[in-house]
């Protein structure tokens, strides 16, 4: 399925709205920056990768927009999209997990919190996974684990580099220990990819926390991050409770992680594609012959 078909498919699912529109002011033509309050033309904002041209604030974007920013037009082919979440524990908190799933699926038009597929970046082949925070906070359950693992295995088989765009609150509690085990499963697949001498880059976007940070987000040969993204293992509140003191202002930001040696480079979204293409070429990627 090409990205175009995939868009079309989602329209059939009555998919409504992009996240950026939630910050809508007035008639929908204009958008107010949540950071600097500058009002800009929505069209201009989207043309600028949803980054405020005034202050550089990176608005959250969904998986579809992200794929469009990274992959060459028409090159993204989704795989394993048919995998669906189930409710292995019969989990119910204030509401049943099964109901939450159905509702989130209807609202987002997504089956689960990650989209995976093969694509080209500046005509260089790459396997791509993009997590979508709108789907239950990008939480990692069995489907997220299975889709990413299958993608990593495919990248290993086809000997292509891999990019995983992370955006997640961590493991999905509603699937219990099966969610925790996805951390190990994906890490095992990444070990095989690595053993073949292939390049893996996670891109850490806002927010990347918990079990995702303690697995594939931190296993990149090169670790990329978006400006000001929140990245951490434990939640800020938990740490404040243990510490009983105030944490630094930039605590757990991409900049803070880079300062402490855990992020290779912070890439503004407007430069994402050129940076990716450049890194791919520098690590030996060769352009593919385009057929048709």
């Amino acid at each position: 399925m090409s990205l175009f078909d995939w868009f079309a498919d989602r329209r059939k699912d009555q998919y409504v709205g992009k996240v950026t529109q939630e910050q809508d002011e007035g008639d929908g033509l204009w958008s107010k920056c949540p950071e600097c309050s500058q009002v800009v033309y929505r069209k201009d904002l989207i043309a600028n990768a949803s980054v405020c041209s005034h202050c550089g604030y990176h608005n959250r974007i969904d998986s579809t927009e992200r794929i469009a920013l990274i992959a060459d037009a028409g090159s993204f082919i989704a795989i394993n999209g048919e995998l669906e979440p189930t409710d292995p524990l019969g989990f119910k908190d204030r509401r049943a997990y099964a109901d939450r799933l159905r509702e989130t699926q209807a609202k987002t038009g997504l089956r689960d919190a990650v989209i995976t597929g093969m694509c080209r970046v500046d005509n260089l082949p790459m396997a791509l996974a993009v997590m979508d925070f709108r789907f239950m906070g990008g939480s990692m359950g069995s489907v997220v684990g299975e889709r990413i693992t299958r993608l990593v295995e495919r990248a290993t088989d086809e000997r292509v580099p891999l990019l995983i765009v992370c955006a997640s609150g961590g493991a999905r509690m509603q699937e219990g220990m099966l969610s925790l085990m996805q951390m190990a499963k994906i890490s095992g697949a990444l070990e095989r990819h690595r053993e073949q001498g292939l390049l893996y880059m996670p891109l850490l976007t806002h927010p990347t926390t918990g079990g995702v940070t303690a697995s594939f987000a931190m296993l990149g040969d090169l670790i990329l991050a978006e400006p000001k993204a929140l990245i951490g293992f434990a939640g800020r509140r938990v740490i404040e409770q243990t510490l009983r003191e105030k944490l630094p202002d930039n605590f757990q930001t991409a900049e803070y992680l880079q300062e402490h040696g855990f992020v290779d480079t912070i890439v503004p979204r407007t430069q994402l594609k050129t940076t990716l293409a450049s890194l791919l070429r520098l690590h030996g990627s060769r352009p593919v012959e385009v057929v048709g």
């Binding site: 292995p88 925790l180 697995s215």
Partner: protein, 329 residues
């Protein structure tokens, strides 16, 4: 006065134990023969204990798993090993006391042993950070596992932690990265790895030494994706719902056995392993030696492939053609 640390739900036993104690005192200070009464009361107490422990709720199992006198990693090592040398440090500037390790001998085998270490009282727990390891702890564990890989020593890992330490320094030193690297590198190990949840397995902090060929778990141990307290405050918006969360999360050995996460659930005596530590040691030693025997017949490639397949199979998804019923637990 009860002689031991009693848990909330053990309170029905208190009166009985007090009576038993009184009769013993009487026997010591006089010539009266009380053996009949003593036997009767002890049988009754044993039956009560049996009843209580055969129907523990998940929330009660957590209490047993966290019992201050439940055998710890170093207790098992002491019970198992005639020879044992503790090894310190991550070679990066720290030696975490919450995650210990070393080389030892079990029967005829030289092995590497690692595990989370809790304390028995407040003072020890402060020194051991309540069994919550820092990034340095996970890096020490990985250094020791690499050492085992180099010298062909099977690895025995003991899991007993509320979770990886959450703190400013832990974030600065890369708690996420430290655990992540262990998850990946443990798939590379060419020696058998057996992990046992001896107490509580708290989330990523447990998994950080838990990528194993066999995962064993004691009957009253628990293994959780998130602490029921945290889960309750996030999903129920009420930390007091922790017992409900504990039940919903399916954290006990039998639950995890049926989900395909755990390979074997090891029995405990009524009263839990704190009641009979030596017996717990025997049970675990027998299981470890049996599994090691099986794993030793595999080549290092077979071991690694099998370990990969084991984790590869974890999770439940619907594919085109499967229905919810096909996946029923």
């Amino acid at each position: 006065m009860a002689r031991r640390h009693l848990l909330e739900f053990e309170k029905p036993l208190v009166e009985l134990e007090q009576q038993i104690e009184q009769i013993r005192d009487l026997a010591r200070s006089s010539e009266v023969d009380v053996s009949q009464q003593l036997l009767q009361l002890e049988t009754l107490a044993a039956r009560r204990r049996e009843e209580i422990f055969s129907s523990l709720t998940p929330a009660q199992k957590i209490q047993v798993a966290r019992h201050p006198h439940r055998p710890s990693t170093l207790d098992y090592i002491q019970m198992f090993c005639d020879e044992w040398v503790e090894l310190h440090g991550d070679r990066r500037g720290s030696d975490d006391q919450a995650l210990v390790g070393g080389v030892g001998r079990i029967g005829q085998r030289s092995v590497l042993l690692i595990g989370h270490q809790k304390g028995r009282d407040t003072k020890e727990n402060v020194a051991r950070n309540f069994g919550m390891a820092t990034p340095g702890g996970y890096r020490k564990a990985m250094r020791l596992m690499d050492h085992a890989d180099r010298f062909g020593l099977p690895i025995l890992s003991f899991i007993d932690t509320p979770g990886a330490y959450a703190g400013l320094l832990a974030e600065e030193q890369g708690q996420g990265e430290a655990i992540a690297v262990n998850l990946r590198e443990m798939f590379r190990l060419r020696v058998p790895v057996i992990a046992t949840v001896i107490g509580e397995g708290g989330s990523g902090g447990a998994l950080g030494i838990g990528v194993a060929d066999r995962l064993l778990m004691f009957q009253h141990s628990v293994y959780t994706v998130a602490s029921p307290e945290a889960c309750a405050s996030i999903l129920w918006r009420d930390a007091a719902k922790a017992p409900e969360a504990a039940a919903a999360l399916r954290i006990t050995g039998p639950d995890l056995r049926s989900l395909g996460v755990v390979d074997e659930v090891l029995p405990e005596p009524a009263g839990g392993n704190n009641w009979a530590p030596l017996q717990a040691g025997e049970v675990l030693k027998e299981a470890i030696e049996r599994h090691l025997g099986e794993l030793e017949s595999l080549s290092s490639k077979e071991l690694r492939d099998q370990r990969y397949r084991k984790f590869r199979a974890m999770g439940r998804v619907l594919t085109a053609g499967t229905t919810e019923n096909d996946l029923a637990v």
